[in-house]
Symmetry: C2
Subunit: 199 residues, 2 copies
Amino acid sequence: MSFFPASLENLIDKFASLPGIGRKSAQRLAFHVLALPDAEAKAFADAITEAKANVRCCSVCQNLTEGEICSICASDRRDKSTICVVSEPRDVLSIERGREYNGTYHVLHGVLSPMSHVGPDDIRIKELLVRVAESDVQEVIMATNPDTEGEATAMYISRLLKPFNIRVTRLAYGIPVGSNLEFADDATLNRAIEGRTEM
Amino acid sequence: MSFFPASLENLIDKFASLPGIGRKSAQRLAFHVLALPDAEAKAFADAITEAKANVRCCSVCQNLTEGEICSICASDRRDKSTICVVSEPRDVLSIERGREYNGTYHVLHGVLSPMSHVGPDDIRIKELLVRVAESDVQEVIMATNPDTEGEATAMYISRLLKPFNIRVTRLAYGIPVGSNLEFADDATLNRAIEGRTEM
């Protein structure tokens, strides 16, 4: 049963359909938006429409952009011979935050997941192969998440890249910087020992 | 520094401006909206615009409604001689959920709060007084929250209602049904003992 006007219920439903937003939170958000000045509420609605209309995928790396190619692919200062393959646009942000990596990216927009019916044709693997085939790429770094699906995707793509005779690498596994050995899980600790380096 | 296109950043900002939504959650929500089919993203934007345009306050009880008066005020089956005063529209929902109360409501849209510069003229107190003066009201139940501001608001309004010579009551304090005495705070337990009833 509902005691809210239909258009308010509708707005609550929209918020509740977002990931991680429950019914109560959706109510709070909807009330907040209703209480905004008209101009701000309109700006919110416009932000959705405009982001949806303007944001597209970079024709080179498939990262989100408003132009034809993204700022990283357009930059002269980035090393075009190295491609870091990530699953989501937000992963680009994570790696850029480190300010160490100077190559380019390739955003898959997903990972292989038979359980969710995501196959090789559903993510941007073909675009990566075309890129490797047509430009002078020396190394592809697989930076998908270190979980089952991310691993499988990295493995699958690395096999497809074999014929190109380029370097294909994977992010190092190990204990996180600043963490505590006591709380590291067995798998991570084993990988850290396997991957130990000379001091 | 930002690596997202401007209109995506803008959408993230909008989500981050909502209460209880941090930067990371806002990113997740914005990516989710971007990934929606065009029609659904449009429906989301429209839901905001329409709720903002259609929802107004009931001319009688100030609850949110799309018509001139809300469904509760318009109903023949509600007892118009009893008014339950709440601070927010969602409180109406909470009381209605109990299916016991059969009177009408009055929504203040806030509580008195000197700290936030909310005075008697900023919430719908005047409308309540006009209602009590002009219609046959027998009882006003103060159902603001049992916190400092809710208490002060209830106290303030009850004094204004004194001259009308009607019954002004307050929700009972006590231990919540189904709770455990061990976890009840002192103030609640003291109020529960004060307000004890014959068995």
